[in-house]
Amino acid sequence: MHPYNLTFLYLLLPVSVVVCLLLPPRMRAYAVVALSAFCYASLEGERILLIAAVILANYLAARLLVRCEGAPRLRALAAAVSAGADLALFVLYGVLEQLYGLHVPLGLGVVCLTGAGYLADCYYGYVAAERSLVSFALAVGFFPRLYAGPLVYYGRLAPQLHRMRVSLDRVGRGGRVFVQGLAKKVILGDGIYQIYARLHEVHYYNAAILHVWMMVICLSLATFFLLSGFCDMARGLGMLFGIDLPENFRDPFRSISINDFFSRFNITVNRFMRKYVYTAFGTPQGGTLSGIFNILLLSILIGLWYGIRLNMVVWGLYFSALVLCEKFLLRRIAETVPPVLRWIGCTIAVQVSFVLFAGNTLKQSVDYLRVMFGLSGADFLSNEVLYLLNSNYLLLLVAIFCASGMGRILAGFCRRVSPRLWELVSMLLTLLLLAVTTAFML
């Protein structure tokens, strides 16, 4: 049962929220873990055993680290083997998916990476090993987080898990965030993805220049709305059940530099990688070469998070090159360039990167690039593009408005001008959006 199913929204969710409101705080974790297990099992069946085994293994490994306090070598070995097993499982499934089309259980990446990070934190003493298996299972396997994150390290969640605060105030805020996420996924993400899918059906040698540009822009918008929609749903549900999860997307298409983009797009994944890879390898204290190496490694790993395939490695290399350019070549020039021009440059660079998502192979991506930049002799415009623009103008306008962050700016302004009126308007808008989204779920 997905969080974007009517069954979840109108049957399971209201009952679960009321149960959580009525239960004493220390019992709430049990209820949410049971809800997560129920939803997961309804989707993945017996694969829940794999996720449960990973969670249990990480929990026991952390307890083992506590027991081995006096034996540093054994402790290091236990931490390395356990965290390595998490990463190996994640990579193995990714590779098998690419090679043999193996189904990867939902959220395996989130569970494995959170588990590996937790073990690293326990080993270095940043967090204490969790005593309660239920609290740990909730931190790692909170169901709505398994789709697309946010990828939170354990230390951030741990303080909340033993006293999950649930109130009508939080229900109001959580409901609003959840409905926004649901609308992003159901109306904008799915709608824009359909346009992308239709454009993607056309072979590149039949595609016009604007066709490929539109395809890439639609893919970037769909990716943004789907991922941020799932993350907002997770954040909203977290608030409803007493867990605060961080924001994962903050208007990424307003970025004026590549570094800025990475601080706005899939924020928690980037922070996670930065914490466990970039910092762990010694930068920013290290030298220039070490810095370059770490930027390369970090970018490639962030790319591989989206899928273990060659295109994603190249995606990482592409962004590494851009980050290094910004860092070493363009830093001084950038200061003199007006923000609008920097925004245009950054937006083009980001959109071009989505060619690597669109292409099934590297060659296909290169072919798309050749069309985009007029190197293949393709026409500039095609009827297909005009037809799709006509047929979807409202959806595209709404998507661009929402992706631009204007909605957030407008909401912030209204909140400052009249907070109480804004609360009322916001409540009514949430209910209206819920009705509209329900209509799109039918």
């Binding site: 109108y10 209201p14 929220v17 229900v171 409905v179 009827n383 037809y387 409540m427 329900t438």
Partner: protein
């Protein structure tokens, strides 16, 4: 209580309102039944909830209207123009067309009858100006890519009957149903006028037929398929030769061996018995329909038609020229029933399909079940 708490209460109330209304409306039983199903209970529960959700029909219409207002004038494979629905016909596989052509050629080779092929273009090919964003809509070119191609490839074996130019000349008239993917009675007349000439007959003028309007409130298959509802209904008309009285015996044969017979082309009690009004025209469409015409035929020629339901539009006109016509619906006829058709008894064979039927599926493989050994005509 803070304003934000009211927001929480309102959100919870909205969530609880739906199951409360559902239970009040008696939908609880259906949900329980769905969730207790052996096979995929959660999917069934979701489907049941979609069906039973309070205000579901209103919300669906709202969604469709919103999409339509947002420019989406093609939904579920159907173009939504100002006053009519049109099927968006797209080529699925050239192999299907090739297979259908090959089967026709094999048939001619095997039975050596005078054979004709008539592909009827759909509304979006004839009334292109009504297609939303017609100048840029990615339409399949039925005229060039299908009709001309098929007619060219069968030339010399079958006589092509190209009704496209005539239909195109009359595109402003009511020749296609607004809510059904086929031609109206009037469209059927124009098809007949072209076909009759190719079949060696002298077509009669439209004024020689009387018309009776059976229904003004008909909604066809496109209406059922498209979620859009703001389309006016269709008028169903029955055309009859008014000059000379004829006796018709229409016999329908079903695959289970049963049959039924009418002594009129328009058995109106069929509608009264619960069928839709199109069941009145020739008594509907069955795997095999034979029509014997008494007191009329100019010739002794007999016609065998392999086709689809589009025959309901043009066959009432063609009948005045033949003492006997047999129609075989190749989409539904069973091999055992087809074995009873003796091709040698017919002078003319007509393959007649709507363009979407012909490119959409293998229509003619079933012909391999026709009896191989035929008596001389």
């Amino acid at each position: 209580m803070k304003m934000r708490s009211y927001s929480g209460l309102a959100f919870l109330a909205a969530l609880f309102l739906v199951p409360a209304l559902l239970l009040q409306g008696g939908g609880g039983g259906a949900l329980l039944q769905a969730v207790s199903a052996q096979d995929q209970p959660f999917q069934q529960l979701e489907s049941a909830l979609k069906e039973r959700l309070p205000g579901a029909e209103f919300l669906r219409r709202f969604q469709i209207s919103l999409k339509y207002a947002g420019g989406s004038k093609q939904q579920n494979g159907v173009f939504i123009s100002e006053d009519m629905l049109m099927l968006d016909v797209q080529l699925k596989s050239q192999a299907i067309i090739n297979a259908n052509i090959t089967k026709m050629l094999d048939f001619v080779d095997q039975f050596q009858r005078n054979s004709y092929v008539m592909l009827i273009p759909t509304a979006c090919a004839v009334q292109q100006s009504k297609v939303p964003y017609d100048t840029v809509a990615p339409l399949y070119n039925q005229k060039q890519q299908l009709l001309d191609d098929v007619y060219r490839r069968v030339s010399g074996y079958l006589t092509p009957i190209d009704v496209y130019p005539t239909l195109r000349n009359h595109q402003e008239e009511y020749i296609y149903y607004r809510t059904d993917n086929t031609t109206t009675g009037l469209g059927g007349y124009y098809i007949y006028a072209v076909a009759a000439q190719k079949l060696g007959l002298k077509p009669r003028g439209l004024h020689e037929f009387s018309v009776e309007h059976l229904d003004y409130n008909y909604y066809g298959d496109l209406y059922a398929r498209s979620p859009y509802r703001e389309i006016p209904p269709d008028r169903i008309s029955a055309y009859s030769m008014s000059k000379y009285w004829r006796y018709y015996t229409v016999t329908h044969y079903e695959n289970d061996g049963s049959s039924r017979r009418y002594y009129t082309l328009y058995p109106q009690f069929r509608e009264a018995l619960g069928g839709d009004v199109k069941q009145v025209i020739l008594g509907g469409v069955s795997p095999i329909v034979t029509i014997d015409v008494g007191n009329a035929a100019e010739s002794t020629r007999q016609l065998l038609i392999f086709g689809d339901r589009s025959m309901q539009s043009y066959l009432p006109f063609l009948l005045i020229h033949y003492p006997k016509v047999t129609f075989v619906d190749t989409t539904s006829v069973s091999p055992s029933l087809l074995e009873q058709v003796d091709v040698s008894r017919y002078n003319q064979i007509l393959f007649a399909y709507m363009a979407d039927s012909f490119i959409g599926s293998d229509q003619l493989s079933i012909l391999s079940w026709l009896p191989q050994k035929q008596e001389p005509a």
